[in-house]
């Protein structure tokens, strides 16, 4: 197990280094640097040179690369070009908000997906299964930003039940304890619902398939023969085994979950990583863009690693099978 874990960690570290390098190369070798766009805004040449020096763009590429990697290792992601604050500090404020949003959305997806798949597997190819198959396919196909806007249109404007933006109301921001928590919950409903609605389709579709596979296995038949009800056989015997491979699927779907939350954060002005990177992209704030992309990738890679470890813990076959 220790050797297996070590190999996994090494692979994760390699991926993170590759991502750090790729983001650097993309920015360093993009045709024209930031100052060229300043030139479009009629900035005189000598001012352009000053900007280049201030941003360190006059130094050779490899020095900048060494600085970027060395800084990242020490947790220093340079300074934002728009707010002049350390990028690491800005990320430190934004990351927990994104993790909260993504985790709550994932939980909703998972609960909804299990409920739908169980209902479908009870009588496969029956009327309710067909309707739900169409529904989950539609959920899978809907663009996240569209669902978010429709939710805002209906539940924040037409029927003003939930706030249309931000994590807290001004009063809730200052409040503490219970009041702050309910304020947060009130603001989270629509964004979390948007993640859940678009993510539930993929999970339900996957789980339905694996539930149907498990249903045909001998151990489920044995449980039925022992007098176990169809419902119980499905929930207690088939479900745990069908859920196992879902751990890996969830781990692999993390990048999509985070991409989805980026759009949702923008729609609902949620102060997370997506919002941070989006406004950095608008302002061409390169350090924030690079740092944000790197940190969110590290979060995703760690999430993947956790999924792998969780899988190895609950399914001994993975560990004993010589380790992947």
């Amino acid at each position: 197990m220790a050797r297996w874990l070590l190999r996994r960690l090494a692979a994760a570290a390699l991926i993170v280094w590759l991502v750090a390098t790729a983001t650097f190369l993309l920015v360093a070798f993009a045709p024209g640097d930031i100052t060229q766009r300043l030139a479009e805004a009629r900035v005189p040449p000598h001012a352009r040179e000053q900007w280049r020096r201030a941003f360190g763009l006059d130094r050779p590429v490899w020095t900048r690369y060494a600085e970027w990697i060395g800084g990242a290792l020490r947790g220093d992601l340079s300074t934002s070009w728009t707010t002049y604050r350390p990028v690491a500090v800005m990320i430190g404020e934004a990351l927990p908000n994104t993790i909260f949003l993504a985790a709550a959305g994932l939980l909703l997806e998972l609960l909804g997906g299990v409920a739908i798949a169980l209902r479908q597997a009870r009588r496969p190819f029956g009327a309710s299964d067909r309707v739900l198959t169409l529904a989950t396919l539609t959920a899978f196909a809907m663009p996240t930003f569209w669902v978010a806007l429709l939710l805002a249109e209906v539940f924040a404007y037409r029927l003003p039940v939930f706030p249309p933006s931000h994590m807290h109301s001004p009063a809730g921001e200052l409040a503490t304890g219970w009041q702050r928590l309910t304020d947060l919950a009130h603001h989270s409903v629509l964004p979390v619902l948007a993640i859940g609605l678009t993510g539930v389709g993929a999970i339900a579709r996957y789980l339905r398939g694996s539930l149907l596979d498990e249903r045909g296995q001998a151990y489920v038949l044995a449980a039925r023969a022992r007098g176990c009800s169809a419902r119980r056989a499905l929930r207690v015997h088939a479900l745990p085994n069908a859920l196992l491979p879902l751990i890996t699927v969830l781990g692999l779907s993390l990048p999509f979950l985070v991409s989805g939350s980026l759009v949702i954060e923008v729609v609902f002005s949620w102060p997370g990583m997506g919002q941070l990177v989006y406004s950095a992209a608008l302002a061409r704030d390169v350090p924030t863009l690079m740092g944000g992309t790197l940190v969110i990738t590290v979060a995703v890679v760690l999430g993947n690693l956790m999924a792998d470890v969780a899988y190895a813990v609950v399914d001994p076959r993975v560990r004993l099978g010589g380790g992947v």
Partner: protein, 318 residues
């Protein structure tokens, strides 16, 4: 195999995608010019099924009225606000127009923009898919056939690119590159080759020790010939299934990027951009948000049905 003999999902997917593509291609004949602006004060944010008299003026601009009356000296237009009198010389034409799907904030016909936006979105998705398939297949063949260091390097690179949330990387690229239509297509295609490469590599690894490939090597066939004649045809089924799903992903990615303002640039309509325009007047014009999203969803459903159906065609017993 007859059309009826094909799996239902495959047929539904083809019909759905075909109908949408057909409508978008036929767009210019089905509806007007998507760039025509009718005076927003008179024709902005009209709900679906609205009818107006569209008046083309001598200076090239257009205005609209609920009723138009011919008088001896010209026209009197009744619309929002006071009735307006126009001298006959200022008016080029007066025509009744039905805005089937309403108008946007600038008084442009939503149906026309939806069909034109579909052309853009579908074209970007398809060309990006082509880029992804060509790059992915080449790299997958190379990695699978060569093995060794090249294989390790390519696969680790694929792992790394797959780990980055695509939208973050796309924003990073869009902010540092100039997002013209070509760059957009190359960006989207360049970020989706990894899945294709992995798939093709896996197929090649399982095929390259088979007798027919060994026989081809034995009689001295070149690696390129083996790759094109012997390996590629055997990967077509999983590849086409993957490509159908990938088309849906690419169209969603393009829509998200255009929604954020980093995709298809404004004068050109795109479904994602249209939803964004609707989002600016949230709570007043539901049709601006609803319709382009329905179009995206329909295309992605069609692509997913097609992928499912292709799987069934390949395994008729399952």
């Amino acid at each position: 195999m007859s059309w009826r003999g094909l799996p239902a999902r495959f047929r539904h997917g083809i019909i759905l995608l075909g109908a949408l593509t057909g409508a978008c291609i036929a767009g210019p004949w089905l509806s007007g010019d998507p760039t025509i602006i009718v005076e927003p004060a008179q024709a902005g944010l009209l709900p679906p099924l609205s009818q107006r008299w569209v008046v083309e003026l001598r200076d090239g601009s257009r205005t609209a009225a609920q009723a138009a009356q011919r008088t001896e000296t010209g026209w009197v237009l009744f619309g929002r606000g006071e009735p307006r009198a126009l001298p006959a010389g200022a008016v080029v034409s007066v025509q009744r127009q039905v805005f089937w799907l309403g108008t946007d904030t600038l008084g442009r016909d939503v149906l026309a923009r939806l069909l034109w936006g579909g052309r853009v979105s579908l074209a970007v998705g398809l060309v990006a898919l082509l880029v992804a398939v060509v790059v992915g297949t080449s790299l997958g063949l190379l990695a699978g056939w060569h093995g060794g260091l090249l294989d390790s390097v390519l696969m680790r690179l694929a792992d790394a690119l797959l780990a980055i949330p695509a939208l973050f990387l796309l924003l990073l690229m869009a902010a540092s590159l100039r997002p013209s239509l070509t760059v957009l297509i190359l960006m989207l295609g360049g970020l989706s080759w990894m899945g294709v490469a992995r798939l093709v590599r896996g197929q090649v690894l399982s095929l390259k020790e088979r007798e027919f490939v060994l026989a081809a090597r034995g009689i001295g066939a070149s690696p390129l010939r083996i790759a094109l004649v012997h390996l590629l045809p055997n990967t077509l089924t999983p590849l086409s299934q993957d490509a159908a799903l990938r088309l849906g992903d690419l169209i969603l990615a393009e829509a998200s990027l255009s929604f954020l303002g980093f995709g298809v640039a404004p004068p050109l309509p795109s479904w994602g951009g249209m939803v964004a325009e609707g989002g600016e007047v949230l709570g007043t014009a539901w049709w601006l948000i609803l319709l382009p999203g329905v179009a995206v969803t329909a295309v992605v459903i069609g692509a997913a049905l097609l992928a499912d159906g292709l799987g069934e065609v390949a395994r008729p017993e399952g």
